[in-house]
Amino acid sequence: MERREFIKKTGPAVALAAVTGTTGFVFHNREIARRSAVVTKTADFEIPHDPALPILASATNSNPVAALHAALDGIGGIGRFVHAGETVVIKPNVGWDRTPAQGANTSPVLVSEMVRFCLAAGAAQVTVTDVSCNDPRRSFLRSGIREAGEAAGARVVLPSPEDFVEVDLGGVVLTRWPVLRHFIEADRLINMPVVKQHSLTRCTVGMKNLYGILGGRRNRLHQEIDQSIVDLATFVRPTLTVVDATRVMVRSGPQGGSLDDISIEDTVICSTDQVAADARAVEFLGLGGRQVGHISLAARSGLGSLDYRNAGYREVAS
């Protein structure tokens, strides 16, 4: 065989062998390609403290809308929290497939009124969303919140798997966790919890409600629940916490299911201090903030004041 012929006949095989070999060596021992990046971000939506105004206002009225008006006025009015052109995300509790009367979710009447407040204050967009425990379609529908939010002019978002971003929350137990992106993309966050008994944390109010910004397998968090709630409340600082204590679930929380589990309190609490809001609200469950692990831990961590009566408290009679 001539040299030329030999090269011609072996050339393609040699070339393919070279490419194969090179590929193997180039990709040898690389990191596995990852498609999702981790976002490092804070979610601090707080406004500066105003010593002239109380940190917490509570109003009682059999008409929940009137109670909300009174409490919000008592703490300085919506203009203090939402400014023209801002985007607002409202986080009610839409955890469960329950009707408004069963009190497992935030009252749709309060949610729609809050949406109207924000829009009246000039908000560019108001989003209402939550990461439900039960199927979100059923939870948003049966809680009445989808309809109430949309009727008031909000964008009601039912989270889909693509809406979550991996965020480094920087907590003690909560580190990397999927967060619903709407909660970190807005300018203002209004937390609208409902007051319920819970057998591990004793209560579900404002800070526990923030679980609903997380995706993933959050049921693992119960093993260190107090610290993980405080981690979350450290990461997310809502502009305003509006506690719906109109129908308080005193037993069988956090789902209830029976009207016997409900105590009618007709109260709405507005607060710029998450810890104070929770400490005030647990009184409806016959508890004090100090008796609740995550509330006292939050106070010790400097997130707010347990002793809300001395820190600026206004009870609004209406």
Binding site: D97, C133, R137, L141, P161, H222, Q255
Partner: protein
């Protein structure tokens, strides 16, 4: 109207019925923007299973097995009675699986084997076409003894099941994979195109969230095989296997409509045979078979000499060169009887097996409102509508969990999804009443009626965090939807590794309150094998599968 116009009408009819069928399966879901009139009781706005109710085979076998024609199944007469006069128009004009087979058969192949003489030969009537009658009689035999095997091969449940549990979920994951790959390339335009494609799929075809179904590889394989066989024989499934086609063929026995052949006009060009869908011998010189003809009208339209015409009261006089058509089914009576007996004997055989009563898998938790197991197997056509509509993706097709007899019947896999207490959608969409329609108070219970129970939860204390690891966790109790909760906590003293006494709240199940919904199992953080799990014992539908003596049953 010319025959060409009528043929175009048939083509339009196939497209319309296929789209309607597909649309109904697509709508068998709980949509995000759906507004029911009542918050407490959610009902679907469309009768999404209506296509299945037009299926005469479903009507016949459920009638044989259970003695009643359930709800909307009376609609099946709208197909069956015209068939008695006209023949198998359903196969050629309506059946969505038939149309799919028709279209796939028609795709031009690069292989030459199915053109010209070979195609012509393959379109002559063949003996394998008898198989469908034996399949049909087998199904009848089984149904008479209370077991519904027809649903496995009946084209309408088969197609609903294949689209609902295999095609659409696979499309969903394919769309996600494309979008994820496209964005993963890091090249913005490619990412945008991939994401755009997925968004387009999302708004048109995909449900609210990706569904996952147990063991759908087998369902997909059957479906793909049926479609691929069209490449070997035109409409092989319709000609050879389909039990509904067989039933309609038998009901065409006294049809007054048929093919009239004019042997004087015919010049034996055989174009009719080339275009034939049913392999029913449309050509002059062979005996036309009413029971095989789909009335697609291709032969008449293909005939250049005008020798063929479908008409009422066709000529039934044979001549030497042109035998008259027959409406007799070409299947031996002996073999039909044998198939029927085969179906009859299969049922005792199935039920003598250990998977039926003695050792049924404890994890076969049936949907809420299901009939007792024997009646359930006599009703369920395995159409998969309940699985598709379930908002929590809780219902799945069985493989062998309920025996070979129960292949592809629905069962709950709580690890994937639990039964939503206030949801009654599966009973609403069930076309045969295997899952009966429950009202909200029948489902959750009220003062008079106990709730519908599908099983009972049990703790695995060797895996449960508070029990086995002295670690706090009350997630099952948190998720328990009954009020008062069936799962209750008791503070107990555990000793940790260092010997310290620690107080932990440990969950307990009260079987008198548990409905077996599986929310606890779903929520349990011990992911791979849950520390709390549901089995079927205590289900309302069964008299015997009970634990508590005093537990009230619905």
């Amino acid at each position: 109207m010319t025959v060409h116009a009528v043929r175009n009408l048939r083509r339009a009819s196939q497209v319309v019925f296929f789209l309607v069928f597909f649309w109904l399966v697509l709508k068998t879901t709980f949509e995000v923007d759906f507004n029911p009139s009542e918050l407490s009781e959610i009902r679907l706005p469309y009768p999404v299973s209506i296509a299945l109710e037009f299926d005469p085979l479903v009507g016949l076998v459920t009638l044989l097995a259970s003695g009643t024609l359930y709800k909307g199944l009376l609609w099946s007469l709208a197909v069956l009675i015209p068939t008695i006069f006209l023949g198998r128009f359903f196969c050629g004009w309506v059946c969505p699986l038939g149309s799919l087979n028709h279209w796939i058969s028609g795709i031009r192949s690069e292989r030459r084997s199915r053109r010209g003489k070979k195609l012509l030969e393959s379109n002559r009537y063949k003996k394998y076409q008898r198989i469908k009658y034996y399949v049909f009689f087998f199904c009848l035999g089984a149904a008479l003894f209370g077991s519904l095997q027809a649903g496995l091969l009946d084209p309408l449940p088969l197609l609903a099941r294949s689209i609902g549990t295999a095609v659409l979920p696979a499309l969903h994951s394919a769309g996600l994979a494309v979008a994820s790959f496209a964005t993963g390339t890091g090249i913005a335009p490619i990412g945008a195109v991939g994401q755009g494609l997925y968004d387009l799929l999302s708004v048109t075809l995909l449900p609210f969230r990706q569904a996952h179904f147990h063991g759908i590889v087998l369902i997909s394989l059957v479906f793909v095989t049926i479609l691929v066989l069209n490449r070997v024989f035109t409409r092989f499934w319709c000609r050879g296997i389909c039990p509904l086609g067989a039933m309609l063929g038998i009901f065409s026995r006294f049809a007054i409509f048929g093919l009239h052949k004019d042997d004087k006009a015919c010049n034996e060009c055989n174009r009719c045979l080339l275009a034939c869908q049913g392999a029913d011998n449309p050509n002059v010189g062979s005996q036309w078979r009413q029971s095989e003809c789909h009335l697609c009208l291709n032969c008449q339209a293909a005939c250049p000499e005008g020798a063929l015409a479908f008409k009422f009261f066709p000529n039934k006089v044979s001549t030497k060169t042109n035998p008259a058509g027959t409406s007799r089914v070409d299947a031996s009576r002996r073999k039909l009887v044998a198939s029927f007996i085969g179906g009859l004997t299969a049922v005792p055989l199935f039920r003598a097996g250990d998977t039926h009563e003695a050792k049924r898998s404890p994890f076969v938790v049936r949907p809420p409102g299901s009939l007792p197991e024997d009646d359930f197997l006599g009703r369920c056509i395995r159409c998969g509508q309940c699985m598709r509509v379930c908002p929590n993706n809780a219902l799945h097709p069985t493989l062998l969990e309920s025996g070979l007899e129960g292949l592809w019947t629905p069962f709950l896999i709580a690890k994937i999804g639990y039964c939503e207490p206030t949801c009654t959608l599966c009973g609403q969409v069930c076309p045969t009443g295997a899952i009966s329609e429950l009202t909200l108070s029948q489902k959750v219970g009220d003062e008079e009626t106990p709730p519908n129970r599908i099983g009972t939860a049990f703790l695995d204390r060797g895996r449960c965090l508070p029990w086995a690891m002295a670690t706090p966790c009350i997630v099952c109790e948190e998720w328990c939807p009954t009020s008062p909760k069936a799962i209750y906590l008791r503070e107990e003293i555990a000793v940790d590794r260092q010997g310290n006494e620690v107080s932990v709240a440990r969950p307990h199940v009260d079987p008198a309150l548990c409905t077996g919904c599986g929310a606890c199992e779903y929520a349990c953080p011990v992911y791979d094998r849950k520390a709390i799990y549901v089995t079927s014992v205590g289900e309302s539908r069964s008299e015997t599968n009970q634990i508590l003596l005093e537990r009230q049953r619905t």
